[in-house]
């Protein structure tokens, strides 16, 4: 197990009486692909929203690479290397695919406050954008308007924007939802490759149990804002509490097959 990237201490978040995170304590480790599972309303998306800064925590601390980020604004967390993609397509709809990726690439290079250079002339930006496009297989569509892409390609673009920020830790919220099998394979290959090269540590929220169990090295099961199971895919399959509240028969099948 690698060094600890993200440490969460006594994290709480509630909406009125609905508790979505209750005294959460855990660490995420470098290089370990982790999946977060749980039934609808378990608090998975809320957890990602709190960790990445979209929602403020009620109490508790979030430390990223030894630095407290609990109250840091979103863009600062992104600059530190904490990235995310979204569950629904959340791209720059009326911009080209190239521009969609140029925005995070320029931000990373601290070029976005540049008023007088032309984007078209920044050669190294083109190189970086093409690299990401190549990773997700969207190179041929670089000059199409994002909203004219097929749904699956928009999902790829969604992940690509997150990758373009060069995160150390990347949360993917249902990355394969709405993708066809070819796109799904491509995105899973990309995740494996980047994970093995040690560039990015992935945390994935996913409903597809085949993907969860084939991809992840660690699975965390959430239920009503609490962690009810945390361990290797095998351990989670065998965990009676997880089976009871969430997986039920599905795990039985998986374990048998």
């Amino acid at each position: 197990m690698g060094e600890s990237l993200l440490d969460v201490r006594l994290l709480n978040k509630a909406f009125g009486t609905v508790v979505t995170a209750k005294d959460l304590n855990f660490s995420l480790h470098s290089g370990v692909i982790t999946s977060i599972i749980g039934p609808n309303g378990a608090g998975k998306s809320t957890l990602i929203n709190v960790l990445t800064g979209l929602l403020a925590a009620d109490s508790g601390e979030i430390w990223f690479q030894g630095r407290e980020v609990t109250r840091e604004p979103i863009y600062k967390r992104v600059k530190l290397g904490l990235g995310r993609s979204f569950q629904v397509v959340n791209v720059f709809a009326n911009l080209t695919v190239f521009e969609n990726l140029a925005i995070p690439v320029l931000a990373l290079k601290r070029e976005t406050s540049n008023i007088f250079r032309s984007v078209a002339r920044l050669r190294d930006v083109h190189g970086d954008v093409e690299k990401v496009l190549n990773q997700v297989g969207l190179l041929d569509q670089a000059y199409m308007i994002a909203q004219s892409l097929s749904h699956g390609d928009q999902r790829l673009l969604e992940v690509a924007i997150a990758l373009a920020t060069k995160p150390r830790l990347l949360f993917l919220d249902e990355p394969t939802a709405g993708m066809n099998p070819v796109e799904r394979t491509r995105i899973l290959e990309t995740i494996r490759r980047l994970s093995q090269s040690g560039e990015v540590t992935f945390v994935i929220v996913e409903h597809d149990m085949d993907i969860v169990f084939s991809l992840s090295e660690r699975v965390m099961a959430l239920h009503r804002g609490q962690i009810i199971g945390d361990g290797s895919p095998e351990e989670i399959r065998m965990n009676p509490q997880v089976r009871e509240v969430y997986l039920g028969e599905e795990v039985g099948h998986g374990a048998a097959g």
Binding site: G83, A93, F116
Partner: protein
Amino acid sequence: MNHYAKYLLVLGCLAALVIIGLVGGPFTLYLATRTMILSIFALGYNLLLGRTGLLSFGHAAFFATGAYGLAITSIHLSVHPLLGIFIGVTAAAILALFIGFFCVRHTEIYFAMLTLAFGMMVFALIWNMRSITGGDDGLYGISRAAISLGVVNIPIRKDYQFYFFVASLFVVSVFIIHRIYLSPFGLALAGIRENHIRTEFAGISVKKYRLGVFTLSGAFAGLAGALSALLESNVAPFSAHWSHSAEPVLVSLIGGLQTFSGPIVGSIIFVALREVLQRFTYNWMLWFGILLLAIILGFRGGVVGSISGASRRYFRQ
């Protein structure tokens, strides 16, 4: 449109600017100068509205700050036009930075209403600080002194001289704003318009960039105000009134929010239309409103936006 057509168009416009300056009568020169001043106002404003997606109702305050800045400098300090313009623009930018600081953390209707409220406060201040601003009389007797640059003096007193002075500042403004559209900063602004949450998740501080573009557009409003004070040789408090803030909104809408040249074309239509209607109709505001409605509803994406869209479809076939 290909590159050559674009260059030809730009050259044609520059030639037209020069020809108007050389052969135009006083009235034509006056209208053309006003059109260019309104264009500067609207081009800067559209960086905020069309590019970043923020609707401000407070830009008359920055226009008036530029105008009063020049007038006060001219009356009390120095009649040098460049100094007056510099002070006017700087004052407008500082005011925009200050007001923007409170406004940019809000979006949409809240942002628009806050800018409106600040704009009303500025109007009230100008109206009441009689000893400095002249109150409801405004300030008058602003002279168009020659621009002395050490060895040479460039006179701007005559209409055509002032026309060329404004035209050169207009060309410089167009050039700068065009560069901003093509720059990384301009792309970040488009990102904020399209999806401000995603922009933040791309590692960009949306608040800072909104404040940056708000200040920039305030500075261009200030430049327009300072030039208009020189043109009219007086400033009136109603240049700060919130109804004046509607002008760049309308002009940008007429020309096309999502186009670069929209505000220029919009300004031409706006000034020409108002002049004709004021002359030939009894109730010009009514007709003006009806025609604006027809243009805004008839040309989707503005005059420039719909024409360039139509020509793109035509050439693709």
